[in-house]
């Protein structure tokens, strides 16, 4: 139960669709704060995650709220845009009120071995973020090997990432256990060397409580208890919250639940 509530509180409730509208985002922002009002004592999610154009809407809905606003950026999800566009994309999101920026790395350049380019890009975006925390999406599904995942993690960390994140959610495979484990190891090694904590965000494909708990166990075992808060660990997910809510209500009532009883926003 404690684990399940922790999962809820670590979710970045996400909508990243071409068809996103203010209406959709407003409704999701409400859900972020009111996961299941029929049951009291539930936390909110950690953040909502939206496109830059929707940050302003979310800011208005979440004014003064503990739920943070994360914005994807840098021509998400492909990252195929000139640097100037990526910087502008990021500055816009921050100026609209984003607390966190989820950028994508240039996978093409990375696979071509242009690691310096990738490093410099991340560093430049970090600067553009100002106070906003930076999550760097490696899009591991396109990196093809765990060696690459590790290398990309190290680059991102050294270039100034506050969080490293597996995936955009647009490419399969996304947040597999092996990939997350590899990235956690990179975070651990960095911490061992420098004492600096980096956050982790698996995203895409974690839609059940069981998988989420597996991830939390992995974090606890690899990084330790100090990572077990939404300051340092997030789930990027759109349908995970309701599954966790169903498990919580199952624990409470003894009855297996139906999705009919949990709001979809």
């Amino acid at each position: 139960m404690q684990g399940l509530k922790m999962v809820l509180n670590m979710i970045d409730l996400t909508t990243l669709e071409g068809k996103d509208t203010p209406g959709k985002v407003k409704q999701m922002c409400y859900k972020a704060q009111h996961l299941h009002d029929a049951y009291t004592g539930l936390p909110t999610v950690a953040a909502v995650c939206v496109y830059p154009s929707m940050v302003g809407v979310a800011r208005k809905e979440l004014k003064g709220n503990i739920v943070k606003i994360a914005s994807v950026s840098t021509a998400f999800p492909s990252g195929q845009a000139p640097m100037s566009v990526k910087l502008e994309d990021t500055r816009f999101a921050v100026s609209e009120g984003a607390d966190e920026i989820d950028m994508v790395i240039s996978r093409g350049k990375f696979l071509a071995g242009e690691y310096n380019f990738v490093f410099d890009e991340i560093a430049a975006i970090k600067e553009a973020c100002g106070k906003a925390r930076l999550k760097v999406i490696l899009e591991t599904g396109e990196l093809s090997t765990l060696d690459n995942v590790r290398r990309a993690s190290d680059i991102a960390i050294h270039a100034g990432a506050d969080f490293i994140k597996t995936s955009t959610g647009k490419i399969q495979p996304a947040a597999t256990m092996q990939v997350t484990y590899t990235m956690l190891m990179a975070i651990r090694d960095h911490y061992d060397r420098t004492g600096i904590m980096i956050g982790m965000k698996p995203a895409g494909g974690i839609s059940t409580s069981k998988l989420a708990l597996h991830n939390l166990v992995m974090v606890k075992e690899v990084l330790g208890n100090q990572w077990l808060s939404n300051e340092w660990f997030r789930f990027g997910a759109s349908s995970l919250a309701n599954d966790v809510l169903m498990q919580i209500m199952k624990t409470e009532t003894g009855l297996y639940q139906s999705p009919d009883y949990f709001s979809m926003d």
């Binding site: 509208t21 209406g23 407003k26 009111h34 139906s258 009919d260 979809m264």
Partner: protein, 489 residues
Amino acid sequence: MAKKTTKKSNETGWEYAPSLESIGHIDLKESYDLFIDGKWVKPSSGKYFETINPANEKVLAKVAHANEEDVDRAVKAARKAYDTVWSKMPASERAKYIFRIARLMQERARELSVIETLDAGKSIRESRDIDVPLACNHFFYYAGWADKLEYAFPIRDFEPLGVAGQIIPWNFPLLMAAWKIAPALAAGNTVVLKPAETTPLTALKLAEIIELSGLPPGVVNIVTGFGDTGAAIVEHPEVNKVAFTGSTAVGKHIQRAVAGTDKKVTLELGGKSSNIIFEDAPIDQAVEGIVNGIFFNQGHVCCAGSRLFVQESVADLVVRKLKQRMDSLYVGDPLDKNTDIGAINSKEQLEVINKYIKIGIEEGAEMYQPNCEIPSKGYFCKPTLFSNVAQSNVIAQEEIFGPVLTIQTFRTVDEVIQKANNSPYGLAAGVWTDKGSRIFNLTSKLRAGVVWANTYNKFDPASPFGGYKESGFGREGGLHGLRAYVKLK
């Protein structure tokens, strides 16, 4: 208070003069006993309760409170009537009794309408044009089935169930009595019926009509009272069938109470029905449909279209037109023929509605109520609209049973189907679009027992009514409504 100008006083011109329905011709007694075995008998406890007019809080009459002993007498009378008379009578004769009841009701339609309005708070136009005619028609419709049941269940062995215990709600007192009694009698059962405690009068007037019709004693028994009276009916071992219309909570209780017995049960329970407006809908008609969907009968309708879904591209337009239309609704004396929205049925219900309005405000939804005046005495509630609502809002999930509408917006067909079905209830739904193929897509995918396409809140004796999921099971009305009252072998 010079600054505070109401809309009404701003308007130059014409206020409609009240057009009150006369109450001179109605015959109400000071006190009503129980109608058991064809006779009016005093409750064994000697206890009576008052039923009031919710529009002015004045007492209309005193009504007997039946206890377990009284219910037992009623069930025994029904059992005896079933065994000795009703099950032996030729079906064509049964039919004629039911036809006769329908006719007697039609003859007294005006009196029934006025009493319904007095006791329930609903507007006289509604009682007169909808409730009472539909109730009469229901008897008329089922009367004809009585001697044609072999066509309803061809090549199948069937028989009546025996004694039907029926418990009805306060929102459509006479109509619900008709929905329950008519098919039960047509299929050859006898009846013990309990009307709701806040609206017993038209059922008692129906008892007078039944008495007048010469229906054999005990075939229909009407016992008034509270939840304990209903529980006594449900739990009585000689009741073969329980038919209940009311809240889902009580419905679940009944389902548990009959566990382990052979009683057949039909339940018509709560709802949180969606009313879906697409961008290509005939918007003005849709706005009328929305108003009718939620404000009809003060929103005291289990199938009320209380969750409005509007496609984003027309949301502003629909909301603007809806507000305009709400401004022209007349809330007031139910007896006034100008009145659109009458009185809330009871103080308790008004408190429930106000509680939800408060929740809506606290949830941060935007509330709109027209700037109309409501009477100072009696229980009234302005038509209320909440916009900027998400599926996660409590007011969009729980049944309010009052004139309170929530608006959500949507983008795509799939999205709105998912959200409409994302509810434990499944009673009704409305769809507004000009596109035929889309209508059928929605009507087949919405998990609800009644779907109104380009219309809302229509009822007819020939049309089956009832819900999916937690909105209950079994159908009332039409051919399908008969099945609830026979045993198929």
